[in-house]
Amino acid sequence: MKDLFAVIMLSGIYGLLSASFFVSMDAVDVAFTEASVGAGISTLLMLVAITMTGRTENPSRHKPLLALAVVIVTGSLLIYGTLDMPYFGSAQAPIHQHVAPRYINDSMQEVGVPNIVTSVLASYRAFDTFGEVVVIFTAGMGVLALLSAVRRPRDVAEIDSFNKSMYEEHLILRIVAKMLIPFILLFALYVQFHGDYGPGGGFQAGVIFAAAIILYAMLFGMNTARRVINQSFIQLFAAIGVLLYGSVGVISLLNGKNFLDYSILSADPIAGQHLGILLIELGVGFTVASVMVIIFFNFAGRRNNQQNKENNDSC
């Protein structure tokens, strides 16, 4: 398929499909994330990218045979490896016997959160999640380093007029979106704080929150959105998220417990766990939401700059 637009649409469908698959495999939290990331944010980013890089692929091909050979070797090795795997769905498989039973049976007494995924994510393996937050922070900083551009104030008016002409056409969209955005933000908060009891948590909430802002930015123009959300302010917010997470860990260090041991946060260990999970989820939410917005703003801002340049050139 040479049309990149179609490729991206189909990969969005793939994201949706795999998310449905995750639901049917009982991985509700993962489905939640994959839906918002795989089908939502990453499709959107790819779209913005192709508006800047061009939409068609060159027909030229090179060494498909070598690639095919590599793929076939790897694939057959994988198939070979599956032969001794425990059967799909078998309850006797080692992974259901060794580490997981403690999570399933004891997490309620030890952490006190009904959603086992949350308790593993935010307490047993909280350090992985810290790493995850840092990864997303790194990505945000990387995109900033690559794409952020100094904006000349003179251009702002031009962009504004450009945007105006574009969104005057979408009156109905804007009205519906205006009604929806507060609801989306509210829903993000619900997901953030309901993560203990159902699917959801900081990451998902952050993505939804960012999605609302992105929707706003698309319909009302980048500059209006920039006026609402200051760029350097949001960078600090991303940093605050990481720091909040880290400082929860440091507090337990200072109190003589191990890093990220929440039981120290309150007199009652279970209450401490609750508080700890709440705080770190908040940190995750902060960072994810602001990094997603940073990434999107930088992509879109770059694009606006490019268009401006083109407009100036053609004049």
């Binding site: 009982d26 090179h62 690639a67 995924v117």
Partner: protein, 117 residues
């Protein structure tokens, strides 16, 4: 054996489709799409092994005995985040490459590099 493993085989095929796109195609955006397909397939692989016959989602509720394994879910949540981070960075690079080289085809870029040397 066929019934027990077919799920994994499908995953392997999906993985290899993504992998093939990454290494065989010259278009930078397409490579990244391939990469994300490859990664998503690995996620599917992890999630498939967490499934227990007759189990339900690992959120504790009254009257349910059998839960699916929560650990792979946690791992994949982290991996999804890593995936989107990589995608974003890769796309940003592709955009910059387009600005610098005027093309996002591997061959063109290689050609221009050779001219520079």
């Amino acid at each position: 054996m066929l019934m027990g493993l077919y799920n994994y085989w499908i995953v392997v095929v999906l993985m290899m489709v993504g992998f093939y796109i990454v290494i065989a195609h010259g278009n930078l955006i397409k490579k990244i799409v391939g990469l994300s397909i490859f990664q998503t397939s690995v996620f599917i692989f992890y999630i498939s092994m967490a499934k227990v016959e007759g189990g339900t989602a690992p959120i504790l509720a009254e009257g349910i005995r059998q839960y699916s394994n929560p650990l792979p879910h946690v791992l994949i949540l982290t991996a999804i985040v890593v995936g989107i981070a990589t995608t974003a960075l890769g796309l940003a690079l592709a955009v910059r490459i387009k600005e610098a080289y005027g093309s996002i085809e591997e061959e063109d870029i290689q050609k221009k590099d050779n001219l520079d040397c």
